[in-house]
Amino acid sequence: MVNQDKLDIAQEKAKHMFIYFSQLMDKPVFDKNGEWVGKLYDIIIQPTEVYPQSSHLVLRKGFPNRKYAVVKWLDIQEIDNKDIRFKLDKSEIRFEEIHNNKQELTLRRDILDQQVVDVYNHKVIRVNDIHLLFVDHSLMVAHVDISTRGLIRRLRFEKAVDFLVSLFNRNAKYLKEEHLISWKHIQPLSVNPVSMAIKIDVAQKHLHNIPAADLGEIFLDLNAKDQIALFKSLDITTKARIFTHIDFKTQKSLIEELNTNEVVEILNNIPSDEATDFLEGLPRDTTHEILSSMESKQSKKLSQLLGYSSDSAGGLMTTEYIAFPKDTTVEAVLKQIKDRTFKVEPAQFIYIVDENSHLIGSTNFRHLILANPQDSIQNAVFRKTYSVRLDSSVKELAYLMEKYKYYSIPVVDANNVLQGIITVDDILSQVIAIAWRRLKKIKILAKQ
């Protein structure tokens, strides 16, 4: 956060301390005796903090046999938008055929003109220019510019276009508007050629804060190669969140790039109804292969779910729910809920079962909190809990849930043994699909 404060103060103090990368690019570089060394080609940054600082610069000279040299930032005497002067002598700078800095993040190769994720607006954008700030003799990456004006500046028409626009309208929005996005909201997508993963650093935590549905949409905006690279570099929670919010086709193409263990890890971390939906779409051989490499308990559960028709209660339900034996005390229940971690599915209701897992009733958090902690959970139960059978239809489910205002409804087998629950969001997506089909039919009929 120190950097943030530093930046804020600097912003107020001196607006002229900002410079665009395009204003530095290809500027001449001189040694301590004022002799020409080369042109500034690229800047290597240290992505360790929220606002990364420049660490080296890359020089380029010669055409068509181009040569590059990497020089430490500390060796710079002075830098401005006209030229760069070194503390070094020309002889100390060694030029080579290529600059080998695969591991670092560089402005020109990895950010300028590339696609990056704007994690604030949840969009994939292309960088037109980079806004840099002078801090203690080094440069700090402050913003990226995605405006048309940035594009025009790169084309070196800025003055001409500014002049033309001001002829028509002195106060044109174009002249004042700056479309800068703070670096802290930027996730670069440059792919490390060795690990084939995205160079992820501080910014990954920003990806965590994006709602899963938006994350899925950003993901779909990327090209297939970036999708895989980004996916591989994420932690398992984020992976699971993205996986449940992308369409089947993208899921499938991702899975093809992962090995079976990685697939199993993802499937273990998403709700079982999402996992079954996905497995159902795969060829039978692949499903078998995945199930056989799973833990037997999990694979048994999934293969059982796969056996139910996809529009029946059995096919829609998830097996992640909270259930407790009837004799558990309210205090113990609350403690266990606190300690347990749940997957994505919201846990709204607590189900109460007997020793043979027969469904007795249900309760919610409000009831539990109000109840006497020493009481057994049986006393906090609602008057009556409605449940559905494994083969109940979507219509039946929707009707019951609407009637009793349930967020989730328990599913039991013929012997009243609790099998799973169905949450309202799963029903909603089913009902919307049915409604759409009807609406389309009506429209087609009307046209005829």
Binding site: D113, Q114, Q115, I125, R126, V127, N128, I146, L151, R154, L155, R156, P193, N223, A224, K225, D226, S253, E256
Partner: protein
């Protein structure tokens, strides 16, 4: 045995899923301008230019295959890659020339629609606006999948030229003989025609379009061989159809010594010689080719420019989500269609400008492609191999020479 049959079916299914970009891009090559060139070539030089289609097939496969490969390996369009590797200024100027050349190409496609309207006895003031609206509606309301299906059906309609070829009852022995045995005529007209025939085959928009559509299809690396097959089949199909156009005109017009300048004149001259069915098939082929290309050219322009400039792209997006994309697409169609409806519009300068801008842009695009496809950081192990690279350089130099040749010959004319 059973296993092999199953494997064959599986491969066929994968190919059918991957197929599209190569065949579509190659077929648009036989657009109104292409049909005109081939008709004139057949009418003025008989079968003697047919051999040139074999090197054309090779060149087409080599160049389009690289686009396909780059698309599958990098997952990015050509304009994307040029912007990322060569910077925004180069991209901007390339895009300006591309818009220019594609706009004038589109105008000549609408000229093709107008010409076929006259052949069918319909007023061009009816057919041109109707086609423009159809073309616009198809992309704005369609999704990538549905649009591709329409395009593939349009590719099938090119068979009308094959039928008209058979209706003209050619001497097949002679056709085959002249296609494998190069016959040079060292006169100015023949060389100009040769440059014209080869030069119209590879246009800059094709590389952009093919790469973008392979990217949009999200073809996997492991299915790349099917994508390559798609390119090869496309190159063969398009040239076989071109050969049929030459054959029709050679067999009728050349034998009677009839001189023509346009595809419309070719069709009209065919009527008394080869019968009205041959005439209708020829005219229908022209209409189909023109409408089809009038769809693809504006689409390809909008794709490339928005990719390069970093604007939202895609047939699957709505107008508000990708305003620049649809604005560019719509503008090119409107300008293209309305210029043709102007009274006394002259087509020759339009053709010249489109050929000239193609000739300027093509060398740059091909050199960019060569640099990109050999960039290890982008392509990994999928860069060109040594021999293939030599072949590519020869092809590219040949194409550059021809397109510059075309540029100059069109002005000398």
């Amino acid at each position: 045995m059973k296993k092999e049959i199953r494997k064959f079916w599986r491969n066929t299914l994968i190919f059918l899923a991957v197929m599209g970009p190569g065949i579509i891009t190659a077929n648009v090559d036989n657009d109104a301008g292409g049909i005109t060139t081939y008709s004139v070539a057949g009418a003025h030089f008989g079968y003697s230019l047919i051999w040139s289609f074999i090197p054309i097939i090779v060149a087409l496969v080599i160049i389009q295959e690289m686009c396909s490969r780059m698309a599958v390996v990098t997952g990015k369009g050509l304009a994307d890659l040029i912007r990322e590797e060569f910077g925004v200024r180069v991209t901007f100027y390339a895009m300006v020339v591309l818009i220019f050349s594609n706009l004038f190409n589109t105008i000549s496609e609408f000229a093709g629609i107008a010409a076929s309207a006259e052949l069918f006895g319909i007023s061009k003031y009816v057919l041109v606006p109707l086609c423009a609206i159809f073309v616009w509606w198809l992309i704005v309301k369609g999704t990538y999948k549905s649009v591709e299906k329409v395009f593939l059906v349009a590719c099938l309609f090119y068979l009308s030229y094959v039928f008209s070829g058979f209706l003209s009852k050619p001497d097949w022995n002679e056709v085959v003989k002249s296609s494998v045995k190069p016959v040079f005529q060292f006169n100015k007209a023949y060389l100009f025609m040769l440059i014209g025939v080869i030069g119209t085959t590879i246009a800059p928009w094709m590389q952009f379009y093919q790469q973008s559509s392979v990217v949009e299809k999200k073809i996997k690396l492991k299915n790349y061989k099917y994508s390559r097959l798609d390119v090869i089949i496309g190159a063969f199909v398009v040239n076989i159809i071109a050969i049929f156009i030459v054959v029709v005109c050679a067999n009728t017009l050349f034998k009677q010594g009839i001189r023509i300048e346009t595809a419309k004149e070719a069709a009209l001259a065919l009527k008394p010689l080869a019968g009205k069915y041959c005439f209708y098939l020829f005219a229908f082929g022209l209409l189909n080719a023109s409408v089809f290309s009038a769809c693809i050219l504006p689409l390809s322009t909008a794709y490339s420019v928005c990719e390069g400039m970093g604007w939202e792209v895609g047939v699957n997006r709505r107008f508000r989500e990708a305003p620049q994309f649809y604005a560019l697409y719509t503008t090119i169609i409107i300008i293209g269609a309305s210029i043709i409806l102007l009274p006394n519009v002259k087509l020759i300068p339009i053709m010249l400008i489109s050929q000239a801008s193609n000739g300027i842009l093509l060398p740059f695009v091909l050199i960019f492609m060569l640099l990109l496809v050999n960039n290890k950081r982008l392509m990994g192990e999928y860069t060109n191999s040594g021999i293939y690279n030599i072949l590519t350089v020869i092809t590219i130099m040949g194409m550059i020479g021809l397109s510059i040749g075309l540029f100059f010959t069109s002005f000398i004319h």
